[in-house]
């Protein structure tokens, strides 16, 4: 458990021998000290002192978050006292904050606060003019709009600096793309790995845990590494995945991407969903920089995603070939019609044609139905067998009587008379045998039908088609939008 402090300074020495920029460190130390005191004053309700502290911190290091915190202190003072001047100062610092960080993620929220406070100032001024002269102004409660903004709280801050500055900063994995370059400041929630890389310097990796109301400063002193090369990959499609040397290990980064690389021959693949693949064969010398630009062309491919209850025990075939030994199964397929078949032991197979659209994901949620029992077929077969046996017995009896009569008629001792009841009996046996055979045949055909008929509802699949969610990720700074980092 970390002790509660206003400033936490964490220095990481990444190089074996690295020079320290004493001047910058002093400024940052001063900013941290002022930030810590300002946080204490804010919590004690000393908004003027807190604002002063954040102003001193800003004076030491110009992090836009300090401007926001100053505005927040004046916001809270104005709200507590219905003080027009405090509100005006809050508005001023909020505006400075937006000017300093025009891409701030909370820009809209801050702008709303500016609007509300501006209206509140106006309202308070009008109320002061409307009161009778000579009488003290009655205490004014914040308007409902101000109340709806809630309390304005100073924010924590993570600062990443490097020596030298201008290094690329990654969060957790280079595949996620860079979040900016040093010096970088912003908010980070939870524990993350911060990767700092600069051409000609060794890469630095550090773990950072963002905590509320704290200023966390990560300074990496990067060791020089002149023997490495540098590769810089960009593409016309932002967020294209980059593979280096071995595709089987997966993508190493997303464009735009740059990193140190060992001198020598390398192969780089750049591709994106719905686009073709560009392959670069490069030979990098120590200290050399290779700028690679992948011009990806859209390819009519889409993706199929097979899901469903019990899919983990099913085999998925696409166009007759085993695509996944077990589900769920996601595959990229050329645009067009494909045959999907899902098989699972004891369940009815699901098969249907699926139209794959380019740059769209077709999700098939499969519901497999148990194969029905064949008890009725077994019963029918047994009945067919019984009828067949009965027919055989009756037929045998008929034939026996026929042969006996034929023999006695031929022998004539005793002569058989025309009204011998064996004629009638034999005829009845024969007709009954034939009828029984027919019934046996019909029953057998029925049994065969029962054996192969598809009883009960078939396995089914629900299809949902959606376009790929390709985030724009455009911008020269490439501030890490959509990377799961919140400011």
């Amino acid at each position: 458990m970390r002790t509660r402090v206003c400033f936490v300074v964490w220095f990481v020495i990444c190089a074996l021998v690295a020079p320290v920029a004493a001047q910058q460190a002093d400024a940052l130390r001063k900013a941290q000290s002022s930030f810590d005191q300002a946080q204490i004053d804010y919590l004690a309700g000393k908004y003027d002192e807190a604002a002063k502290g954040f102003q001193e911190a800003y004076g030491a290091r110009q992090f836009p978050q300090f401007l926001y915190n100053i505005g927040a202190c004046f916001h809270m003072k104005g709200k507590r006292d219905s003080n027009v001047d405090s509100y005006a100062q809050a508005v001023e610092y909020y505006r400075k904050y937006i000017e300093a960080d025009p891409n701030a993620t909370d820009k809209a929220k801050v702008e709303k606060a500016i609007g509300v406070l501006t209206d509140e100032i106006k309202r308070l001024k009008e109320a002061a003019q409307a009161k009778p002269a000579g009488q003290p102004a009655p205490p004014a409660a914040p308007s409902a709009e101000v109340q709806s903004l809630g309390d304005a709280k100073p924010r924590s801050l993570v600062v990443v600096e490097s020596e030298p500055q201008g290094a690329t900063v990654y969060l957790d994995d280079k595949k996620n793309g860079s979040i900016g370059t040093t010096p970088w400041s912003g908010s980070i929630e939870g524990t993350h790995k911060v990767i700092i890389e600069k051409r000609g310097y060794m890469q630095s990796e550090s773990e950072v845990t963002g905590e509320p109301n704290k200023l966390f400063v990560l300074r990496a002193v990067l060791g020089k590494q002149d023997f490495l090369g540098w590769v810089q990959v960009t593409s016309n499609v932002p967020g294209a995945v980059v593979f280096i040397d071995d595709k089987s290990v997966g993508a190493v980064a997303k464009t735009p991407h740059s990193q140190n690389i060992k001198p020598g021959k390398h192969t780089l693949w750049v591709t994106a969903e719905g686009y073709d693949e560009t392959v670069f064969e490069v030979d990098i010398a120590p200290g050399e920089t290779k700028e690679l630009r992948a011009n990806l062309k859209g390819e009519p491919v889409g993706r199929i995603n097979v899901l469903g209850f019990g899919i983990e025990d099913a085999k998925i075939y696409l166009d007759g070939k085993l695509a996944c030994d077990r589900g769920p199964c996601m595959k990229t397929l050329p645009q067009g019609e494909h045959t999907l078949r899902v098989e699972r032991g004891g369940m009815k197979s699901f098969e249907r044609k699926v139209a794959i659209q380019a740059r769209a994901e077709t999700t098939v949620k499969v519901t497999l139905v148990s194969k029905p029992g064949r008890g009725d077929a077994v019963v029918a077969f047994i009945m067919a067998g019984a009828f067949g046996a009965g027919g055989a017995y009756l037929g045998r009896e008929a034939n026996k009587l026929r042969d006996e009569l034929r023999q006695q008629i031929d022998r004539g001792d005793p002569p058989v008379d025309s009204r011998d009841d064996r004629f009638q009996k034999g005829k009845i046996y024969a007709i009954a045998a034939d009828a029984t055979f027919v019934i046996a045949g019909i029953t057998a055909v029925t049994a065969i039908y029962y054996t192969f008929r598809d009883k009960g509802p078939p396995s089914s699949g629900l299809i949902d088609v959606r376009s790929f969610a390709l985030s724009p990720q455009v911008g020269p700074g490439y501030a890490g939008l959509g990377m799961g980092v919140s400011f």
Binding site: D413, P414, S418, G441
Partner: protein, 429 residues
């Protein structure tokens, strides 16, 4: 699971094959048409025990006709058999309403005329009176016989002329106990009062006899004289004597009684019961023969063949004991007179352990007598208990000179159009 499914499929496929190899029921129609015997069932009428007696009616022509009696609610039928074996009842006459004779006897006396297309039924009628019902051409005619109330034997015979009728005529002689009574077919020429002749045996003093069977034969001429124009009478007594009496007994006798002709009384050891013992007479180039069928009320029965000579009776061969014998008829399957058989009906004999009855076809030889073993045995192929197959038998002339065998069973007549003794007698077969 796959193996099971394959087995099930194989079984399913086999079923239609079974069906494809099914039975042809028309085979039985074909077989039925191939049978040698036609069975005719009792027509729809109240008579019971139909077929209690049968007799040949017509002697020639295309097809044949059989007279059939039903016992209870006495019924008379002409069963006409066409040349192709088809059968039809053409005459159906209830005797009781017409002749008031009540029910027939268990073994009725139904005689076949030896010289005409006629049969005669001899039945009790009322006190001291019997009735001979003649059937010819679908018509029944009753001839009263004065005297016998319970006739025990009867025979067709050519009766001698008498004072009222100078011609010898084929008529019926009826016996009861020890006496014989004539049935004058032409009542206008009957002797009045009705004659009666009591027959005595040869013993001195003559003893009473009980007549069990009657027969008639034409005696040869004596000392170069032509044979007489009428028949003499053969009698089987209850005591087992075969005797011959002069034909004049038909018209009565001097003193009311008569003894047998000299030398014509032979104890043959055959004794019969009332009604169904028979004396069957035939003649061939070697002489005249009497086949005597006798039986007791029980199991025992016997057949004996006797040549009738100028001086008496000669036994031909040994008499044959045949258990359960009840009736007999002479049968010649062809025109060959040397091939002669007797149809012996054994209506209570066992067939395959069923007391359904049978008929033995036994060869007769004028030199060796009655054969020891039957040449052919006829029985129902599906014997039933109490079927009484063979309770009456007849040799039926059929299709111009051929002969077939007719056998009566209870409510059923079997017509043997073909046997191992003779080939197919039906046309277009």
């Amino acid at each position: 699971m796959r193996t099971l499914r394959l087995r099930l499929i194989a079984l399913g496929a086999a079923a239609p094959l079974f069906a494809a190899g099914g039975c042809k029921w028309t085979d039985f129609d074909d077989l039925e048409a191939d049978t040698w015997v036609t069975s005719v069932e009792k027509p729809d009428n109240p008579a019971a025990s139909w077929g209690v007696a049968i007799a040949r009616l017509t002697r020639d022509g295309s097809g044949g006709t059989l007279a059939v009696l039903g016992a209870t609610d006495s019924l008379y039928n002409d069963l006409v058999i066409d040349s192709k074996g088809g059968t039809k009842i053409t005459t159906e006459l209830e005797l009781n309403p017409q002749f008031a004779i009540g029910n027939l006897a268990t073994e009725p006396l139904l005689l076949t005329s030896p010289a005409s297309d006629e049969v005669a039924l001899v039945s009790a009628l009322e006190v001291s009176r019997s009735l001979v019902i003649r059937s010819s051409g679908g018509q029944l005619t009753g001839v009263p016989v004065i005297g016998p109330q319970q006739p025990s034997a009867a025979t067709y015979m050519v009766s001698p002329p008498h004072a009222a009728d100078p011609e010898a005529r084929l008529q019926v002689l009826v016996a009861q106990n020890d006496a014989v009574f004539p049935a004058y077919f032409d009542q206008t020429k009957a002797l009045m009062p009705p004659p009666k002749c009591t027959l005595r045996d040869e013993q001195i003093p003559p003893q009473m006899i009980t007549i069990r069977a009657l027969g008639a034969y034409r005696p040869p001429g004596v000392a170069g004289l032509p044979p007489p124009a009428f028949d003499d009478v053969l009698v089987l007594s209850e005591s087992g004597k075969l005797m011959a009496y002069p034909g004049s007994v038909f018209n009565g006798c001097m003193g009311g009684m008569v003894s047998p002709k000299m030398g014509f009384a032979k104890d043959i050891g055959l004794s019969g019961v009332q009604g169904s013992s028979q004396i069957l007479v035939f003649t061939d180039p070697t002489g005249t023969y009497a086949l005597v069928q006798a039986h007791t009320d029980g199991i025992k029965g016997r057949l004996g063949l006797y040549r009738i000579t100028d001086t008496g009776f000669e036994e031909v061969g040994a008499a044959r004991d045949i258990d359960r014998l009840r009736t007999a008829a002479l049968f010649q399957p062809s025109a060959n007179v040397q091939q002669r058989y007797v149809l012996a009906g054994l209506p209570t004999a066992d067939v395959r352990d069923v007391a359904s009855g049978l008929v033995q076809v036994i060869e007769l030889s004028t030199t060796t007598g009655v054969a020891a073993e039957p040449t052919l045995t006829l029985a129902d192929a599906q014997p039933e208990d109490t079927q009484v197959f063979g309770r009456s038998v007849a040799a039926l002339p059929y299709n111009n000179g051929k002969n077939i065998i007719a056998v009566a069973a209870d409510n059923e007549i079997f017509l043997y159009f073909r046997t191992n003794l003779y080939d197919e007698t039906r046309e277009a077969r």
